[in-house]
């Protein structure tokens, strides 16, 4: 797979072993700039390990790649500065207020102090949390906390946003709002790398890679993946394709 300038993420033969266990088995793929990219797989498929390598948290056993123009083996620090990461647990400090959570992220991402109040207002407005800025985060409903967590990961205006199951435990209406906002961000040129277990959400991705037992089992647009996995079933949807592709060899 060749690397081009319009790629935001590109990895080749990326491999991670833990002892003898191969978590990620020499996978290659690329994500274009401004793309909403779905990364799907069941639990234990190697999904999280791949994300952690892309975010510079762990180093690959072999292979390599570029994320936001930086080498994932040698420039982990630079990658961390150019990406935003939102985990499924929302990773907020419960005893802190939304304002204090935001200020923590601003400091850690080294955003110049002159921009702090503008960025905080931007996120609080976007997340509709102006009235809750000084309440304890613990007391906020799940949907609000999700918006705050998203806001925290956007404060430093990253090139790539990693969303690890960003809508787990959130109601369908809030999920709808969430995805509209994600689309806006992608239109603005931000690359969105998202994992999800909801196939209706995966359909909203422009391109998808499915991973099972550390190997890529399908890639392409949602339509291509459905057609490839269930060629003889015209009314098949992404759910059917997912179930078929995630079948393990040992079953």
């Amino acid at each position: 797979m060749s690397h081009s300038n319009s790629d935001s993420i590109s990895v080749t033969h990326l491999e991670k072993k833990f002892g003898k266990f191969v978590a990620v088995n020499k996978i290659s793929f690329s994500v274009r700039k401004g793309e909403i990219f779905g990364f799907l797989g069941s639990n234990g498929s190697g999904k999280s390990t791949t994300i952690r390598m892309l975010c510079g948290i762990i180093t690959p056993t072999s292979g390599g790649g570029m994320v936001a123009g930086h080498d994932i083996v040698t420039e982990a620090e630079e990658i961390k500065k150019s990406i935003g990461y939102m985990s499924q647990k929302f990773s907020l400090y419960e005893e802190l207020t939304p304002f204090e959570n935001l200020r923590f992220y601003l400091g850690v991402y080294d955003v110049p102090q002159s921009k702090w109040s503008e960025r905080i207002d931007w996120v609080l407005n976007m997340a509709r949390l102006q009235d809750a800025r000084n309440r304890k985060t613990r007391d906020l409903p799940t949907g609000w906390r999700q918006r705050l967590a998203l806001g925290c990961s956007l404060l430093h205006k990253p090139d790539i946003l990693f969303l690890d199951e960003p809508t787990s435990g959130v109601d369908p209406v809030t999920r709808g709002h969430f995805w509209n906002f994600i689309k806006q961000l992608a239109h603005g040129g931000m690359t969105i790398f998202v994992t999800t277990h909801y196939m209706d959400e995966a359909r909203l991705c422009e391109r998808i890679v499915m991973i099972n037992e550390g190997c890529i089992v399908a890639s392409g647009t949602p339509e291509q993946i459905i057609a490839g996995a269930c060629p003889d079933k015209p009314d098949a949807d992404l759910n059917d394709a997912f179930i078929k592709l995630m079948k393990r060899n040992d079953y």
Partner: protein, 377 residues
């Protein structure tokens, strides 16, 4: 190391500390409680020992003996009993620690220059207490004998005589031999360990339990900034506790710090840094807050209390325990602290202990840094 990131981590950690009542309780209530409890209740000194007499002689001489004993600050005569079995009863029910039976021919025997046996029974259920009482009462009887003898000889018309050797004992460093004077320095070491290690044992494992550690790892914050930033609030709490302990020691118990205050602060900062890095190491290796807390109590608080010369002298311990005390930081700090507090020693005498603490700090910090690096920070 970037100041803005360090400040962000420190500020966040400070909020955790002040908004968690358990942390505050550990940081301030426990030290206060310990000082007051240990200072007042756990006095290792023995005085006013409850004493009962059975006086079968009922002479002016036996009454004089009882009066003299009662006048001593070490004894308090609480009852004169008619029979020996009553004294046993008092000892059994813990109403007396010492019982003395004066035989019927006490005065007659002394007058006839015959040896007379005084029955003295000590409650030895607490051996160290019993030992001290034995020392007191033996010394008292010895002295009484001596006075009687001199009195007798003088009355016999001899020249005024004096005892040939007069040992003039002078106690140094802790002149009144008040165990309190030693307890305050020991308590400072224990308190700093509680604040330093038990509180900080939670600070990293908490991030893992809350799922925030994964996000921290994805951020451009570096291991050094993370370590230092997290430790700073606890460092100031530790120093505040030190000042509270020094102040309370002086106000409540009149224990005046004799040595150089600057040196005390330097030594305490060093010891506090060891405690903090020990707590952080525990936090790094454990995977639940509960386990971290128990491990911290077991590996920091208890050794500081028991293996540090504070409550039990190391010199009386079996060899293998003595070896273990070599890695107990409190042992070195108590050494420094009693040196500064009671002996007004300077750095010339204290540097070996300070060097040990410094080495401990360097090793622990290195381990912490490596572990965080390995986790992807």
């Amino acid at each position: 190391m970037k100041f803005i990131r360090l400040k962000a981590v420190t500020r966040k950690e400070f909020y955790h500390l002040i908004r968690d009542y358990r942390s505050l309780y550990l940081a301030f209530a426990i030290p206060l409680l310990l000082i007051i409890l240990f200072g007042y209740a756990l006095s290792l000194d023995v005085d006013n020992v409850e004493t009962v007499f059975v006086d079968y002689d009922k002479s002016e001489l036996s009454r004089d003996f009882i009066r003299k004993l009662d006048a001593s600050p070490y004894f308090r005569v609480s009852a004169l009993l008619p029979a020996s079995k009553d004294a046993v009863d008092f000892l059994d029910h813990d109403r007396a620690k010492l019982a003395i039976v004066i035989p019927p021919d006490f005065k007659k025997s002394i007058g006839a220059d015959r040896e007379i046996q005084l029955q003295i029974i000590i409650d030895g259920s607490d051996p160290s207490f019993g030992n001290i009482v034995r020392g007191y009462i033996s010394a008292f009887v010895e002295r009484y004998n001596q006075k009687m003898l001199i009195h007798f000889l003088n009355r016999q018309g001899q020249e005024r005589i004096h005892p040939p050797v007069d040992g003039r004992v002078r106690i140094w460093f802790n002149e009144d031999m008040e165990s309190r004077n030693f307890i305050i320095p020991g308590l400072i070491a224990v308190i700093i360990m509680i604040v330093g290690a038990i509180l900080t044992s939670l600070i990293i494992v908490r991030e893992y339990e809350n799922g925030t550690m994964e996000t921290i790892k994805s951020m451009p914050v570096q291991a050094g900034e993370f370590l230092l930033g997290k430790a700073i609030p606890y460092f100031f709490i530790g120093l505040t506790d030190l000042l509270i302990a020094v102040l309370l020691g002086q106000l409540l118990f009149g224990i005046v710090m004799k040595g150089n205050f600057g040196l005390l602060m330097v030594a305490a900062s060093l010891y506090l840094s060891v405690a903090l890095s020990l707590g952080i190491l525990i936090s790094n290796v454990t995977k639940s807050q509960m386990l971290a807390n128990q491990m911290a109590i077991l590996t920091t608080y208890l050794p500081s209390l028991l293996l540090s010369n504070f409550v039990f002298p190391i010199i009386n311990m079996p060899k293998f325990l003595q070896m273990i005390t070599l890695v107990v930081p409190a042992r070195y700090f108590i050494d420094i602290l009693s040196g500064i507090y009671l002996k007004n020693l300077g750095i010339a005498y204290l540097w070996p202990s300070m060097l040990v603490l410094l080495l401990m700090f360097i090793v622990l910090t290195f381990l912490n840094y490596k572990m965080l690096k390995k986790e992807g920070l």
